[in-house]
Point group: C2
Chain length 402, copies 2
């Protein structure tokens, strides 16, 4: 890797920058970018009043951001307003882009998102990756990546970093897949397999899905549990707007919370884990169906058609989710739960029993459960946006390029 992975890692708030004059300037550049991103187009005076700096200080910062291509001027504001007309500022639709990628059990996907948050290029390949060794999968992903970058460059964008969502546990180094049971991958360093020119971050798909929900969801609270599933069940714990990652990076393993402590054995070494009752494989088995591709589509289709075996299996999964979530809610006291990923598509049949279980185990009003509108797109979008957020959080770090 030419750039250390932490450069592209979804950074914390900009105040984590060093506490010097130089650090203060960098934090203030970030404040300008975030203000314009959130509320733009804005005049320099409006930015100054939003972030509590003088007009003169903001002008210096804005000039730097325009010079380096992160902001652009839309020309003078329309006349008729009080005072000297200012030029409205907007986040640039050219310049740095976040490249997101997803290695799914059944697909590969790559996209490019600009600083405005728009998807500007995208490539997908369907087909199972189960049991394939990492090298050919990453070669295929790299081809999609090249396609997307070429398309993005045609539009005046350049890749500020690459973030990859994987269905497994990722080490805190943010490039090693420690364990992805449903790909059968162990200790795979994606940094060594992917092209070296991209600053790389790898994270669990549930984590990127949770971040997407935080950044792109409608009225998402800043404290919530994002529960998602493919074959396994994972959760992202978002606490005060940040991911709780755990010491090794393994936090959020909701699928291995014991539901019935003497229940069936689980791959994790435990017994009666949630995954044994609400994982896709368990639900298919309970419904008497085979494990194939597009499992969610199959279950949703049959449930919609009124297949009572499938509906009963999904009710059971909802109950098990309710028991495991009761434990998680007692521990974490979030503002809400969001069902994402594959669970979003099955929500109509999971939610009633899930919510009944929460209600019967809670004295007060139970924690609200909502369904993600991003669904299976969440992890890919979260990955790309994590790179964009890193640029917005420290614009000075990319200002030299482009």
């Amino acid at each position: 890797m030419t750039a250390p992975p932490h450069e592209a890692r979804p950074t914390g708030p900009a105040r984590a920058l060093p506490d010097t004059q130089q650090g203060m300037r960098r934090r203030n550049l970030a404040r300008v970018m975030h203000a314009v991103r959130a509320e733009g187009p804005l005049s320099r005076a409006a930015v100054a009043s939003r972030i509590g700096l003088t007009r003169a200080a903001v002008s210096t910062l804005v000039d730097e951001l325009i010079r380096t291509g992160l902001l652009e001027e839309l020309g003078p504001e329309r006349p008729g307003r009080v005072g000297r007309p200012g030029s409205a500022l907007a986040v640039s639709g050219r310049g740095p882009a976040g490249i997101g990628a997803e290695i799914g059990v059944d697909h590969l996907a790559v996209c490019a998102v600009d600083l405005r948050g728009e998807v500007r290029a995208r490539a997908v390949r369907h087909g199972t990756n189960r049991g394939r060794s990492p090298e050919p999968v990453i070669e295929e992903l790299t081809r999609l990546l090249r396609e997307v970058v070429t398309e993005a460059e045609r539009e005046g964008l350049w890749p500020a970093g690459l973030a990859v969502a994987v269905p497994g546990l990722v080490a805190r180094d943010a490039h090693t897949v420690v364990r992805a049971p449903n790909l059968d991958w162990h200790d795979v360093d994606l940094g060594a397999l992917l092209p070296g020119e991209f600053a790389l971050t790898v994270d669990n798909e549930a984590n990127f899905g949770g971040l997407a929900e935080l950044w792109l969801g409608a009225d998402t609270p800043r404290d919530f549990l994002h529960v998602s599933a493919e074959i396994g069940i994972g959760a992202a714990l978002v606490v005060d707007g940040s991911l709780l990652r755990g010491t090794r990076g393994f936090a959020g393993e909701l699928g291995h919370v014991p539901v019935h402590p003497d229940g069936p054995e689980c791959v994790c070494g435990g017994r009666g884990c949630l995954e044994q009752y609400a994982g896709e494989e368990a639900v298919l088995r309970a419904a008497g169906l085979e494990l194939g591709e597009d499992r969610v589509g199959l279950l949703a289709g049959r449930a919609a058609d009124g297949d009572e075996d499938v509906r009963r299996a999904l009710r059971g999964a909802g109950t098990a989710l309710g028991i495991a979530l009761t434990g998680a809610l007692n521990l974490l006291d979030p503002e809400g739960v969001v069902l994402g990923g594959a669970l979003a598509g099955l929500a109509p049949w999971l939610l009633p029993s899930l919510e009944a279980e929460l209600a019967r185990r809670t004295a007060g009003p139970p924690c609200p459960v909502s369904v993600s509108r991003l669904g299976p797109e969440g992890p890919l979008l979260g990955a790309a946006h994590s790179v964009v957020r890193a640029v917005l959080d420290d614009p000075a770090a990319v200002a030299g390029r482009g």
Copy 2:
């Protein structure tokens, strides 16, 4: 209240101060205090090299801290060293003190801790508070408080704030006890009952116990679960050196994680919660004993004497703790678990079955479980130290007084 409660609240790191020149000065004052506290006595030059500021900048900060009585000079360092002799700096043993208080089910306690971390005054009253209304309990606590403050003042200390540990859920306002089932208190605003001259913080005893472990424990990691018990079972979740409090302030309710989802009914409205298997009442019942005062002493004494009923009951409690902790560890991935409060005294009989349960439910090496050396003192010390930490984190906020 003369001072808003957040002034004494255990603050986050000093970098949460406003990002201005003034904020930078305040953060640097905090850095000087923390450096001298952690490694003192130190010369000005040694402080400068520790915190990466110039000698001249440090001298200005140190002069201010000496003037306001937070640091003191120990006189010139002994000769024989290279260069001009500097005067060694130490944290003052006079000036602001943290006042900690605990409302326990069976006792009341108050102590004063100076900036060096030493307990300088203390008062305790034994006797049950079960079923007593808040007013007489707080009157009694206030008498202890006055005793401790008088004694501290005699030694040149003044109270920088009061922090109170309670066996129940506390609202995020940090002064309202929302629910303390074992006192039978509901929605009690301690701010209205305690003397108004103290900046007040109220928190759950498990949280203050966890903070005490973080600040005073030997080799405590920065990510851990602190599990404690009186009649209920609570946990403090310490993530990267900070408490995870939850949206309403109710995080850490390990006692209400379902262990056997179809088990006995619980006061929380659920079924088969951990408290039904490992709470003091459940253990006493399983051992065929009555609920009285000094329940832990009774159980520990009988277990030590080889009472097989008590030992079996404690083994069962350890197994239930292991099941609930398996869920918590999968969700949070901490570096370790610390058994504190009443559980510390029972650890010899709980730990074997608890650790066996974790081992049999975990594929890799199980999370290490240790026993707090602070034991039942933890919450009181954590409360007092939280006030001391707030002073160290923002010395400028108290510099005007004394």
